[in-house]
Amino acid sequence: MQLTRTLAAAVLGTTALASLAAAAPKNAVQVGGCETNLTNYTTISAALASIPAGFTIDVCPADYAEQLTITQNVTITGVDTGAKTGNGSSRARLVIPAGGFAVNAADLDGGQPIVAQILVANASSVTINNLTVDASGGNFSQSGCATDIVGVLFQNASGTLSNSAVLNTNLNDPNLFGCQDGLAIYAQSSTGQSIVTISGNYVDGFQKNGITANDSGVVASITNNTVLGIGPTSVIGQNSIQVGFGAKASVDGNDVGDDVYTPTPVSSGILVYDSTPTTVSNNVVTNAQYAVAVVADTTGAADKPSVLGNQIETAFDGVDICGSAQGGVNGNMIDGVSNGAIHVDASCQIATSLSSATGNRINQACAGVLEGSGASITEFASNIFLSVANDVVTGTDTCSGGEQTPRRRMHVSVFR
């Protein structure tokens, strides 16, 4: 019975809320009292502590000043009280607890203390749908950079985060905005496989990264999210989406951008780092330094990426492939690039190659294709070059005559 309910909930998690309400689940409780015939709790934590695995918690629109720790399979879904009449709200919002945020997790890589607004740990099927997770108001001035803040953290756990808004995941201190902290959505793993679906979320106000999937064992589907950085900043190298350190991911249909670190280009719209293979498809990326970057250092691999059908507008490099072999960059539209629209980048100390670069349309770039020394492309055809100063440039990673900005040796800014 509980298994059945879990599966049903997983499917329903991505459909309209009206369907959820109509389903009137038996294995359900509510928080807030907006529904009839369901046991009511006043806090989400109290509901979590009282229900068996596989239940659904319907959360009524209101502010909930709590951090959640979820260690069993559960569905938590915000209720839209105006679904039928329009007269209502769909915002169930987690906010800072009355006593301030408390550390409730440690990073699986290095042990950094983490304040997670929602920690999902060691569970196999957790669905979170239509929640607002807002980290406004934190006070980290005592801990400085030492404590990280995360909106929704999956650790060794599988599940779905959908249709939610994850907001203001930052240290709330201008003096600390350069800390490599503040991840809106973060999935990581130290044991086994964590299958995570992150879909249809709105992510805003993060400090370092919007969506991060790290570590081998993590298999992430990151689709149809909206993740914009703060735009030009001299303080932190932001990434809207990062897939790193062995995580496998499909990054599809997201709308990302405004990732610009002004001193040097290090910020990425979508960053794949030491992860293989990865699909980055059908995304829109506006105004990011590396709209899409696939990068490997000497300790990992980022081979066989497929960068397909993305629309990129305003970038330093449109697609930067660095230390990665056998990738494909096909069918992308790339406009307004100050260095290379497609950069087969030789600066990462590992041989770089593309199996194919075909069917891309490039309008306005210093270099259409920039091939560093020793980098190669096997199949190169059917690309369209418009107002590209140098269609193909080989033997260098910097397009001369373009708007040049010094590149750092480790040129992307990955969260580890």
């Binding site: 839209d80 808004a165 914009l228 507008e313 349309r361 107002s387």
Partner: protein, 417 residues
């Protein structure tokens, strides 16, 4: 390798390639009335400057332009096709940049605005009833040297003519220095007193002071499709507009990517798509990131902006104002848009503007807004919308009372004069 075989005629490529990337390039086809600027194609009559070629070209000729720098302002007053050539592409190193830049003596006014008579320095003027196609050129107005606000700077100006502007880049229409707040500087401007028609597709427009693409006047019609328009973000000094349709023009704005139009907290607001005193506008399938008014349909009462259709747009992150604002326009249709992250409302049928109204607001997906839909002016046909993380789903109000820190200010859209 012979350059002849490398040069790709973009005139032949056609509109389809602007949106269809995977289509194979057609074979190079030489036209009977083709002349050349530069010398990257053998066997054609050649000219040193584009202006010389325009002067010499017979009506309906095609002028193929080799990659290079061209320090000239251009004027087309007869039927012509101008197309930039790609001397490299998939088969070798080369350039596809036909770089049209400031003349050595600086820009000179070469036109007069049909609306108000302001002098205009345009990199290209298409006028006098001409039918022109301009394909694959790189307009770059950097380095202008204007002393004051008196002259407007425009990349491509279409006046009383028919123009297809396709696959161009139009950059840096800025007066520079402390003049970036002048309300001058437009990438593409189409206007008319007797009639103009424009197809504007697949262009990249950025670096301008005021407007990316402007379509004006009741005798003007236009399709604005598949362009990318990048604004100056919060650093912009003027209240910018990505695409402005105004004073009676009829236009379809579709499948563009328009990003970074934010002006901040003053009296005026930036607009990613501004329809001002223009009826029956269609705004569909655009992606609009980081804006104030992502889409505003606005009539001040002097001309109609009724019957707009706003569908299938993706709007992300709007601050200080409403994502989709209907102000003084009746019978709006706002369907199946995806609107994420609106600081005020996602859709506002504004009762503070006389005559606002909607006949259908259905199938929209709204994720995170203070209010999903504000219907201060009233609206019919509000149904089947999905509300996620909205403080209020639908309010018959013009403000969002739940969020006192974000009290509405009467910010106004800022059409170019």
């Amino acid at each position: 390798m012979s350059k002849t075989h490398l040069a790709i005629d973009r005139a032949v490529m056609g509109l389809a390639l602007a949106t269809t990337m995977l289509a194979a390039l057609p074979a190079y086809a030489k036209k009977t009335t083709t002349i050349e600027v530069g010398s990257c194609v053998s066997g054609l009559p050649t000219f040193a400057t584009i202006s010389d070629a325009i002067t010499a070209a017979p009506k309906n000729a095609t002028i193929e332009i080799c990659p290079g720098n061209y320090t000239e302002q251009l004027k087309i007053a007869k039927n012509l096709t101008l197309t930039g050539l790609d001397a490299g592409g998939n088969t070798g190193a080369g350039s596809s940049l036909v770089h049209i830049v400031a003349p050595s003596g600086g820009f000179q006014a070469n036109a007069t605005d049909l609306n108000g008579g302001q002098p205009i320095a345009a990199q290209l003027v298409v006028s006098s009833g001409a039918v022109a196609k301009v394909i694959g050129l790189g307009f770059d107005a950097s380095g202008s040297s204007f002393g004051d606000c008196s002259t407007n700077l425009v990349g491509v100006l279409v006046q009383n003519a028919t123009a297809t502007l396709q696959n161009n880049s139009v950059l840096n229409d800025t007066l520079g220095g402390n003049l970036t707040g002048c309300q001058d500087g437009e990438g593409i401007l189409v206007e008319s007193s007797t009639g103009a028609k424009a197809t504007i597709a697949g262009n990249h427009v950025s670096g301008f002071d005021k407007n990316g693409i402007t379509i004006k006047n009741a005798t003007t019609s236009a399709t604005v499709s598949g362009n990318t328009v990048e604004g100056g973000g919060a650093a912009a000094v003027a209240a910018q507009n990505g695409v402005e349709i105004s004073t009676g023009a009829v236009a379809t704005v579709s499948k563009n990517v328009i990003a970074d139009f934010v002006y901040g907290g003053g009296t005026y607001a930036a607009s990613s798509v501004l329809v001002y005193n223009a009826p029956k506008a269609t705004v569909t399938g655009n992606v609009i990131n980081e804006g104030q008014y992502a889409i505003i349909i606005y009539s001040d009462g002097s001309m109609s902006a009724d019957n707009p259709t706003i569908t299938k747009n993706t709007v992300a992150h709007t601050t200080l104002t409403d994502a989709v604002e209907i102000c003084g326009a009746a019978d709006a249709t706002v369907n199946t848009n995806t609107i994420s992250g609106s600081q005020l409302s996602a859709i506002h049928i504004d009762g503070t503007c006389s005559g606002s109204g909607a006949k259908a607001i259905t199938g929209n997906r709204i994720n995170y807004a203070c209010a999903g839909i504000l219907t201060g002016a009233g609206a019919s046909g509000v149904s089947k919308n999905t509300f996620l993380n909205t403080g209020a789903d639908v309010l018959q109000s013009d403000s969002c009372p739940g969020d006192q820190s974000r009290v509405r200010q009467a910010r106004r859209a800022s059409p170019r004069r």
